[in-house]
């Protein structure tokens, strides 16, 4: 088991390097450097700035410096926010984004698996068709359409829930709409995926063995069929993480939530190069880390993988 862990861990390192290197190259090689914002500055100031940010050094030593900084958790200064470094901004926004993202992921898993299993067990009946239609709606209505509609209906018109904001971070009512908006597309994908994998699992011969052992339906479903049906969902968790992170940008924007996504959009709009690059690298690392966890989880759930 340990050797597999190590193998997966080292397998993730190239991906990390690709993310960092791509980001670095884009930062340094694309036309229009960070100080090329149209403001007229004297050559001396320009040169001083270049020196201050080590932009006068050869590219490779800049790269090494960048790697060294990252290794120390230093994402550099923000170009537009004078008072905060990129690291500080990320540290401030991440707890909020993490809470939002994890809640959405948990909701997507529970509701998606529930709907998918329900559909599979009522295959081709009206309730199954309702699940299919619901899943289709979640896939064709993107989060940036769904989030405003949810606000409009439940926040503005019905006044059931706050239409925006994050409260003081402990008020559940503020979290419901953003989490639902972020989870919906993932609920749909997981429902579709688990419905078809559950249908396939229920047709496996070992399910009939389980019934032949006299086990009640509940045990056959949750001990025997679920183990097989959940595997495709587990492999989907990687893309789902990327989707939730991407979606959180929109959701944080629509609901005015002070997470990383909001800083990211503001930074992109204001062309705050270091903050944008920092967030890309940071989220890249998060995704690599999560893919690693998913890989390991898959190995635990499917003995045929882990013992190979």
């Amino acid at each position: 088991m340990l050797s597999i862990l190590l193998k997966r861990f080292f397998g993730a390192i190239p991906t990390l390097f690709v993310i960092i290197t791509l980001t670095f190259l884009m930062m340094r090689l694309t036309p229009g450097g960070p100080f090329d914002t149209g403001r007229v500055v004297s050559p001396e100031v320009q040169a001083n700035l270049m020196r201050a940010y080590h932009l006068d050094e050869p590219l490779f030593s800049q790269y090494l410096r960048y790697l060294g900084d990252l290794a120390r958790g230093d994402f550099g200064p923000s170009f537009t926010s004078k008072d905060f470094s990129v690291t500080q901004l990320i540290r401030q926004g991440f707890p909020v984004s993490l809470q939002l993202g994890l809640s959405a992921m948990a909701m997507a898993l529970v509701v998606g698996l529930g709907l998918g299993t329900f559909g599979a067990l009522h295959r081709n009946r009206p309730s199954d068709h309702a699940v299919i239609v619901f899943a289709m709606v979640g896939i064709i209505v993107p989060s940036f359409v769904m989030a405003p509609i949810l606000t409009l209906v439940f926040g503005v018109t019905l006044h059931w829930l706050p239409a925006g904001g994050w409260g003081d971070g402990h008020q559940l009512s503020y979290k419901i709409l953003p989490v639902v908006a972020l989870a919906l597309p993932r609920i749909s994908s997981i429902a579709r995926l688990s419905r078809s994998s559950m249908i396939e699992a229920l047709e496996q011969p070992f399910i009939r063995t389980a019934y032949a052992k006299g086990l009640p339906r509940r045990l056959v479903l949750f001990r025997h069929a679920m183990r097989a049906a959940i595997l495709p969902v587990v492999s989907y968790l990687g893309p789902a993480t990327a989707g939730i992170i991407t979606g959180s940008i929109v959701v944080e924007q629509v609901f005015s939530i002070p997470g990383i996504g909001r800083y990211f959009v503001d930074a992109a709009l204001n062309r705050d190069y270091t903050l944008v690059a920092g967030v890309v690298v940071f989220y890249g690392c998060i995704i690599v880390l999560f893919n690693l966890i998913v890989d390991i989880l898959y190995g635990v759930l499917d003995p045929r993988v882990s013992r190979r």
Binding site: M136, I140, P142
Partner: protein
């Protein structure tokens, strides 16, 4: 080959045909939008700021918060969305087909390394790289479809590689090689022309992806810039004004959802037609 029977199966699939019809209609609306709309996209009607739909005056979808005809703007958005979708998928086509054909044709270690790179890129949050690119390069329409195309060619490369691997074994490739054709010539003349079927399918899967990405960027204000418009821009405006003028959100949102639905039906139909399991 079963390609012929596959197309026939597709023509008999009502969902796929409905999707195709809807896409055709939206394409027509986009192309002939300027003739269908009663007003210009940037004409401001000061007496009708945020007005609801009014058929008599030709404001079928109402006006936006700046008093511009939403119908004309939605059709203009359709034009941009379809253009970005097609252009980005064409770019991903060029990159993906070249990359996949080379990897599949050369095989061995080179193939393994090239596909490992695709695997790595696959796990990256590509929307972030698009945003990163637009931040550095600027936000023109062409930047947007070039950057989107530059990041969504991975599926195409995988499919083309698989096809190339199997094509490589076929006799006519062997024959060409026996006659001393160069690798470059074999790839260009024999491999790529034989890849159309699967490539068209993956194009159809890439287009809605590209449309969605563009709308996403434009919604955030990172994509298409005023006075140009797109569904994402309109939805973004609509979201900001939804309390007073909900139609600004609903019409472009419905168009986007309908387009994605149509592509979904068509894509599912194509997949079933090409790979009939049941």
């Amino acid at each position: 080959m079963t390609a012929d029977s596959g197309w026939r199966r597709l023509l008999r699939n009502p969902m796929a045909m409905a999707g195709l019809t809807v896409l055709g209609l939206i394409l027509l609306l986009a192309l002939f939008g300027p003739f269908l709309a009663a007003h210009e996209i940037d004409e401001v009607f000061w007496d009708r700021i945020g007005a609801p739909p009014d058929f008599a005056a030709g404001f079928y979808f109402g006006t936006d918060a700046n008093g511009r005809d939403l119908f004309a703007r939605t059709l203009a958005g359709a034009r941009v969305s379809l253009l970005v979708g097609t252009a980005a998928s064409l770019i991903s086509l060029v990159i993906g087909v070249t990359y996949g054909a080379i990897a599949g044709y050369l095989g061995g270690r080179i193939d393994a390394v090239m596909m490992r790179i695709v695997d790595i890129l696959y796990s990256l949050p590509f929307v972030f790289f698009v945003i990163l690119l637009t931040v550095y390069v600027g936000r023109s329409l062409s930047t947007i479809f070039i950057t989107i195309g530059a990041v969504i060619w991975l599926d195409m490369a995988r499919i083309v590689r698989g096809q190339t691997l199997s094509l490589k074994q076929r006799e006519f490739i062997e024959a060409a090689r026996a006659f001393g054709a160069t690798d470059r010539r074999i790839i260009l003349r024999h491999i790529i022309p034989n890849l159309w079927g699967p490539v068209i399918i993956s194009m159809l899967l890439v287009i809605p992806d590209a449309i969605l990405t563009e709308s996403f960027l434009s919604f955030l204000g990172l994509g298409v810039q005023e006075p140009n418009t797109s569904w994402g821009v309109l939805i973004g405006d609509g979201a900001q004004n939804m309390m007073e003028t909900p139609w600004m959100l609903l019409f472009p949102g419905a168009f986007l959802a309908l387009t994605l639905l149509a592509f979904n039906f068509l894509g599912d139909g194509l997949r079933d037609a090409m790979d009939p399991k049941e």
